[in-house]
Subunit: 254 residues, 2 copies
């Protein structure tokens, strides 16, 4: 049984807690959060603490706090013998410089409070600076996920950046789509089958080949009319830039 101390009380920490506790190979021996209020509902399921001087002995310390809080939490673990990992897509390994055994445990997913996710399908990307520690991380990751990968820090940070494009930016485009609907008294629900199909397509085709629309087919008439229709400055700028990028991708002259 691998003993884990989990540090953090946000969405990722709490989803990770559920998944780890449900596994038979890992036990969470303590959950740290700077405010006990937020994790109080777990007090019958795990030992809680809000005191970094009071962290229990464990095989693995998983730091699941915001990027700028990692170094502070990690510093409190510098005298521990266990392996210390963070869960950040973008933080470097240097954030754990004071910890002799360190690594990264990065679940590539977006977590929302109260929305259940199937951890089995979430890719977990691992990094450690020696094979024995990597093996520990692999065992913990495999206990909760069927998709475990070893990647470098540089790869992890690139993956996090790509995730901003396909998750954060995509969601923002949905927001803009809804704004346009609302301006014209249309329900955003009208667009949802199209949104689902757009995602469904890339299960079987590379998005490069799935591209459609006026920019892809160089339909200048529609592009010009769309630009005339757009009333908000950001809508127009984004329309122009993404259309230009699509033309650039498919080799049309600008």
């Amino acid at each position: 049984m691998i003993r884990v101390v989990l540090l953090g009380g946000g969405n990722l920490a709490l989803h990770l807690f559920q998944a780890l506790q449900a596994s038979t190979e890992v036990t969470v021996v303590q959950l740290y959060n700077r405010s006990l209020n937020k994790v109080q509902h777990l007090n019958h399921r795990v030992v809680l603490t809000d005191n970094l001087a009071d962290i229990a002995a464990a095989d693995l310390y998983i730091i699941a706090v915001t990027d700028d809080a990692i170094t502070g939490v990690a510093a409190a673990l510098k005298s521990k013998n266990g392996l210390v990992v963070h869960t950040s897509g973008s933080a470097s390994m240097e954030a754990l410089n004071q910890n002799p055994r360190r690594g990264s445990f990065y679940p590539l997913q977006t977590f929302t409070m109260g929305q259940k996710v199937d951890f089995k399908q979430i890719p977990i990307c691992l990094e450690a600076n020696n094979p024995a520690d990597l093996a520990v991380l692999q065992q913990v990751a495999a206990a909760i996920s069927d998709a475990v990968f070893e990647i470098s820090s540089e790869q992890r940070q690139s993956l996090h950046l790509a995730a901003v494009f396909v998750n954060n930016f995509t969601n923002h485009l949905y927001t803009l789509g809804q704004e346009i609907c609302l301006q014209h008294k249309l329900s955003f629900d009208l667009l949802k089958p199209l949104i689902r199909e757009t995602v469904h397509k890339i299960e079987t085709t590379d998005p490069y080949f799935a591209q459609t629309g006026p920019a892809k087919r160089n339909d200048e008439t529609t592009l010009a009319r769309h630009e005339k229709q757009l009333q908000k400055e950001y809508h127009l700028e984004i329309y122009k830039l993404l259309s230009a990028s699509i033309k650039n991708t498919y080799g049309k002259k600008l």
Copy 2:
């Protein structure tokens, strides 16, 4: 039984043909395409023609050709008594000016050759210039879809524009995400669970409330590092503009 002539041989026309033929209230009496080659495989299921002077009598003519070909096809139907509609999201009603009975029959979906879609869930947006014709369109649309709406031309064109944001632009962001993955020897499959979850979230939450990421939380450190990581000009420009738009949406000072 409503008799329909379908004009066009592209993705939409062929998907529409399948759906209409499967219904018990509509029969496709003729399929026109300027090239018979492309529709030859249907010659045991419907009368084919490539001659616009040879169009059969029908209750409804559905023009499912590219936007710039609509006027030409519609002109050939000017002496017909039946109702003439186009299926375009962006073309105006003026494209059918020569047709005394005219309207729009707009299925809001993206169609790919060979990929089956469930027409029942596809919103069909209708417009006609008199109630009797609208009733005909409603009957045909309801025969193939559970989501039938009456909207104005202006609403249809706005919907089409919003669709570009949530479908074409979103797909392009997937392409850029894959480019970033490939640059760093990462499989795009790693991002697919995240992409699925991004879409899944908006089934229960408005995208406005589902927004996450460095721009949303005004995390300047991550934003700056991401900008340094981006090697291609369009990647960087899109990163900056969409981040600025997210900040603008959530009221952060730029």
